[in-house]
C-alpha cells in the first residue's frame, strides 16, 4: 500500500514539472517569433550601412582607415554573447566550450586576449575560471534595444581603435532555424569583408561632406556597433529556439515518465486487490 502512495506522489510531481516545461515551451515559442521579427527589422539598417560603406570605400581608393586595415596581432578581443537564464539545453555550454577551445588553440597566456561578455551565464562561467573580463552587460530584456548594448558595443570598438587589441571576434550562437543553433566565432574588426565585396549594379559617385575620409571615420564605428547589435538579436532568437526545443523534449520526457508510472501504479493496485481477495477467500475457507 505504501508503494502505491509513493507512485501517486511521484506522478503528481511529474505532472507539475510537465506543466511548467510546457508553459516555458509556449512562452519561448512566442518570444522566438518576436525575436525573429526584431532581427528581421534590424536588417535594413545594417544592409544600408554596408552598402554606403562599400561604395564609399570603393569610390575612394587608397584610404587607410584603421578599422579596415589588419595589423600584426598582439592581443585579441572577444565579445561573447550568452543568455541570462539557463534551461535552454546546450545553448550556453556549447558556446562557451567553443570559445575556450579557440582560446586554447590561439593563445598561450591570458595576457594575449581580453573578453567582453553579455549575459549572466557567460559572465559567471568565465569569472569562476578566472578569464580576463574587461566589460560585461547582464539583465538584457527579451527584446533588447540598441541603447541597451550601445555602451558595451562602443567600448569594444573603441578599445580596438585605441589599439588595446588588434582584432575583435564575436562569439555567439548563430540562428539557423528555430531548432538549430550553431556557436560561431566571427571576426568583426578589422572589417575585412566590406571592401572585398564586389560592387553590384549602379555605382554612385557621392559627394561627401565634410570629406570621404571623415565620413568613413564616422560610419565605420557605427557600422561595427550595428553588427554587434544584430549579433545580439540573433543570439536572442537562438536562445528562444534552444529553450523551446529543450523544453519541448522535457515535456515529452515527462509525459513518458508519467505513462510508465501510471502503468506501475495500476499494476500495484491490481496486485493489492488480488491479494485482498485472496485474503478474504482464505479467511472464509478457514471458517467453514
Amino acid at each position: 500500500m505504501q508503494n502505491m502512495r509513493d507512485i501517486k506522489r511521484r506522478i503528481s510531481s511529474f505532472q507539475n514539472t510537465k506543466q511548467i516545461t510546457k508553459a516555458m515551451e509556449m512562452v519561448a515559442a512566442a518570444n522566438l517569433r518576436k525575436a525573429q521579427q526584431k532581427a528581421e527589422s534590424a536588417r535594413p539598417y545594417a544592409d544600408k550601412m554596408r552598402e554606403v560603406i562599400a561604395s564609399v570605400a570603393a569610390g575612394t581608393q587608397g584610404i587607410q582607415n584603421p578599422m579596415l586595415v589588419s595589423r600584426p596581432v598582439k592581443k585579441t578581443g572577444y565579445l561573447v554573447i550568452t543568455s541570462d537564464r539557463g534551461l535552454a539545453g546546450g545553448f550556453n555550454a556549447n558556446l562557451l566550450r567553443s570559445l575556450i577551445k579557440t582560446i586554447r588553440e590561439k593563445h598561450n597566456s591570458s595576457d594575449d586576449y581580453a573578453i567582453f561578455v553579455i549575459g549572466r551565464k557567460g559572465r559567471d562561467f568565465l569569472k569562476r575560471r578566472g578569464y580576463p573580463i574587461i566589460g560585461e552587460v547582464t539583465g538584457l530584456s527579451d527584446s533588447p534595444e540598441f541603447a541597451d548594448i550601445k555602451t558595451i558595443a562602443k567600448q569594444a570598438v573603441e578599445q580596438y581603435a585605441k589599439e588595446y587589441y588588434d582584432e575583435l571576434y564575436l562569439v555567439f550562437n548563430e540562428f539557423i532555424n528555430p531548432v538549430t543553433q550553431r556557436p560561431v566565432v566571427k571576426q568583426l574588426l578589422p572589417l575585412s569583408d566590406v571592401t572585398e565585396q564586389k560592387e553590384t549594379g549602379t555605382q554612385a559617385l557621392y559627394e561627401f561632406e565634410p570629406s570621404a575620409e571623415e565620413v568613413l571615420e564616422a560610419l565605420l564605428p557605427q557600422y561595427a556597433e550595428t553588427l554587434i547589435y544584430s549579433a545580439v538579436l540573433e543570439s536572442k532568437a537562438s536562445e528562444f529556439g534552444a529553450r523551446m526545443s529543450a523544453m519541448g523534449s522535457a515535456t515529452d520526457n515527462a509525459t513518458e515518465m508519467i505513462a510508465n508510472l501510471r502503468l506501475q501504479y495500476n499494476r500495484a493496485r491490481q496486485a493489492a486487490i488480488t491479494q485482498e481477495i485472496a485474503e478474504i477467500v482464505g479467511g472464509a475457507n478457514a471458517l467453514s
Binding site: E207, E209, E214, V215
Partner: protein, 134 residues
C-alpha cells in the same frame, strides 16, 4: 510636384517611409536642403530636427547620431534614434533636459561627464522642439 522616396531607418525599425517633396537637415557643414534629383550625397547629421515637406505641409523628425545618404530619387536617413512628433514623450524629455542642465551647472565634474551631459541636453531640447511642432 515631383517627389522622392524618404526612408528613415534606426537599428530597431523603419521609422518612416514615404514619398516626400523636400528634406532639410543639418549636415556636418551646415544646413542642407534636398529636392528630388539631387546628386548623390553622403554626410553625417548633427543632433537635430530634420524638416520634411510632404503634400505642401512640413513636419519635423528628431534625429540623433545619424547620417544621410542621397542617391537617385531616394533619400535614406540612418540614425541611432529617430522620432516623429507623436512618438515623443515630452515629460521624459523635459526631465532629461532638467537633469542635463543641472549637471552642466555643476562645473566640478570631469570633461567626459560634461560632454555627455551636453549631448543629453541637445537631444532633450531637440525632442522638445519636435514635440512642440505637432
Amino acid at each position: 510636384m515631383s517627389t522622392m522616396q524618404l526612408d528613415i531607418v534606426t537599428p530597431e525599425r523603419t521609422v518612416y517611409s514615404e514619398q516626400v517633396e523636400m528634406v532639410i537637415a543639418r549636415a556636418a557643414e551646415g544646413d542642407i536642403g534636398i529636392l528630388p534629383h539631387h546628386s548623390p550625397f553622403v554626410s553625417p547629421l548633427k543632433i537635430t530636427a530634420v524638416r520634411v515637406k510632404k503634400d505642401g505641409k512640413e513636419f519635423l523628425v528628431a534625429i540623433s547620431g545619424g547620417f544621410i545618404e542621397v542617391r537617385g530619387d531616394k533619400v535614406t536617413i540612418l540614425a541611432e534614434t529617430a522620432e516623429l512628433p507623436q512618438d515623443i514623450d515630452v515629460e521624459r524629455a523635459e526631465a532629461a533636459k532638467e537633469r542635463a542642465e543641472k549637471r552642466l551647472a555643476d562645473k566640478k565634474k570631469e570633461d567626459i561627464d560634461f560632454k555627455r551631459a551636453q549631448l543629453a541636453l541637445d537631444k532633450a531640447i531637440n525632442r522638445i522642439k519636435v514635440a512642440r511642432s505637432r
